[in-house]
């Protein structure tokens, strides 16, 4: 599997304070990585670095330009970045995912619009294509933003706290959809909600000032016996769960 990007001894800061220190991390094709860690631990900073919104203070991030040249990265932000009362339609928002491939004069071709219809259809939003965003439910809005993130056929999809606005009726569908997409693109999913992260995730990165990577093979049933749960979960019957190897 080819690498999509690699971070080498990367540190990030806002002013004098280091938010991330000495991170070595790589993401390969078809990875499905859960990025977990406490609030303020640097998860969002990690995304900003990948998106190019923040330059590393030290070290570097190297992209494989054959795969993600021209910035072919899909991004599903936390809901708060878009103004959901803004008069913009579902298909407008999905089309905005193609802006990266446009110059400053951003005409959408008929091919672009057909592509948007396909993506909207794939996400089950056909009936809402002409609706404005403030008529939608939280889960529907999330699907629209997912459409925006994937319309450009990215090789890497970044998801920032998607659990924040999933409505429970769509949660399983949403994660199943991600599993489908994972055949076409690597996925990096940030979540502070460690308890209910998707079972489709293949490996984990713990971010708290620094980054610890847990490849999938570390997670076995033996681990469950060796490392006790830091949080006690009480359920009936067999519940799929994952416990990560401890690190300092």
């Amino acid at each position: 599997m080819a690498n999509i990007f690699e971070m080498r001894s990367l540190s990030a800061s806002y002013g004098a304070d280091y938010v991330l220190r000495d991170v070595n991390f790589k993401v390969s094709e078809n990875d499905f990585i859960g990025v977990i860690g406490p609030n303020g631990g640097g998860k969002t900073t990690l995304l900003k670095i990948i998106l190019g919104l923040l330059k590393p203070a030290k070290g570097k991030i190297v992209f494989n330009n054959d795969l993600v040249g021209g910035n072919r990265i899909g991004y599903l932000p936390q809901i708060s970045t878009g103004d959901i009362n803004y008069p913009v339609t579902v298909s407008d928002i999905v089309l905005s995912g193609l802006m990266i491939h446009k110059g400053i004069i951003s005409r959408m071709s008929s091919t672009d619009k057909r592509k948007a219809v396909m993506v909207i259809d794939e996400l089950g939003l056909s009936k809402l294509a002409g609706s404005s965003v403030n008529e939608l439910s939280g889960g529907q809005i999330q699907r629209v933003f997912l459409g925006r993130a994937i319309i450009g056929d990215p090789k890497l999809l970044l998801l920032d706290e998607p659990g924040n606005f999933v409505d429970t009726s769509f949660e399983n569908d949403f994660y199943d959809k991600l599993k489908d997409l994972n055949n076409r693109m690597a996925i990096l999913m940030v979540s502070h909600d460690v308890g209910t992260i998707s079972s489709h995730i293949k490996s984990f990165a713990c971010v708290n000032r620094t980054l610890h990577y847990h490849p999938s093979h570390e997670i076995t049933n033996d681990d469950l016996l060796l490392y006790g749960c830091p949080i006690q979960l009480i359920t009936h019957g067999v519940v799929p769960h994952t416990v990560l190897k401890s690190h300092e």
Binding site: L51, G52, L53, N71, Y75, P77, T81, G82, D83, Y86, P87, V88, T89, D92, I93, L95, S96, M99, I100, I104, I105, S106, R107, M108, G130, S132, N134, E135, R148
Partner: protein
Amino acid sequence: MEANIFQYEFIVKGLLGAIFASITAGLAGTYIVSKRMVFLSGGITHASFGGIGIGYFAGINPVIGAAVFGILSAIGVEYLSVKQKIREDSAIGILWAFGMAIGIIFIYMTPGYTPNLMSYLFGSILTVTYADIIALGIMSVVLIFYFGVFYRTLLYISFDEVFARTYSSYVDIFKYITTSLIALTIVLNIRMAGVVLVISLLTIPPNIAQIFTKVYFKIVMWSILAGFIGTATGYVISYFAGIPVGATIIFTLVIIWVIAKGINHLIMKYNIKP
């Protein structure tokens, strides 16, 4: 014969003025209402009054003074909000009153009587010149071109600036240009509606449009239509009643808004499908 010339001038100025005012106000107004920049735009309007005062004092065209003040304050506020160094509403409040203060100081320092002062505050048919109408006409063409060519770019920056920054390094440039064009639109419409009332000329039509549609492009179209009806009707009332035109335009627009709300209420209540 004299009456005919007055009537001809009244019709030409009124018709062209209403068309260009509604086009410029509809385009700029939809942008500021959607992006919730109404208070900011009010600040820019009142700051430009400082330019009017200095224009009087220096003996240059007050509209030029207002344009310079309006654009500088627009760029200033945009710069401060980009840097996120200020509490925006407080800064706008200061700018708002400071511009008015400068305007009043310079107008009172100007020797002699300042007959057109009222026309700048409340708008006036009598003082609207063909040069004003031509300037509004040029502004209409510029805005149609700008919003037409950069429609999606501007729509997406306004909707989700954070996302726009992931694919474009032009976000700040576009914000500066757009805010400057809005400042210029406001200043040119001051001749019609006056400093005190012009902001409503920009904000009421999109609010009428938004009762019926939530799609940006349609809001622009309906705003221009509502703006035209309000401006033309207000102009006629102003002419015959001798009331400042800004007041009659805004009064008409608010009546249209109330009627539109009522119609919408009936549509909702009886579930009428259009």
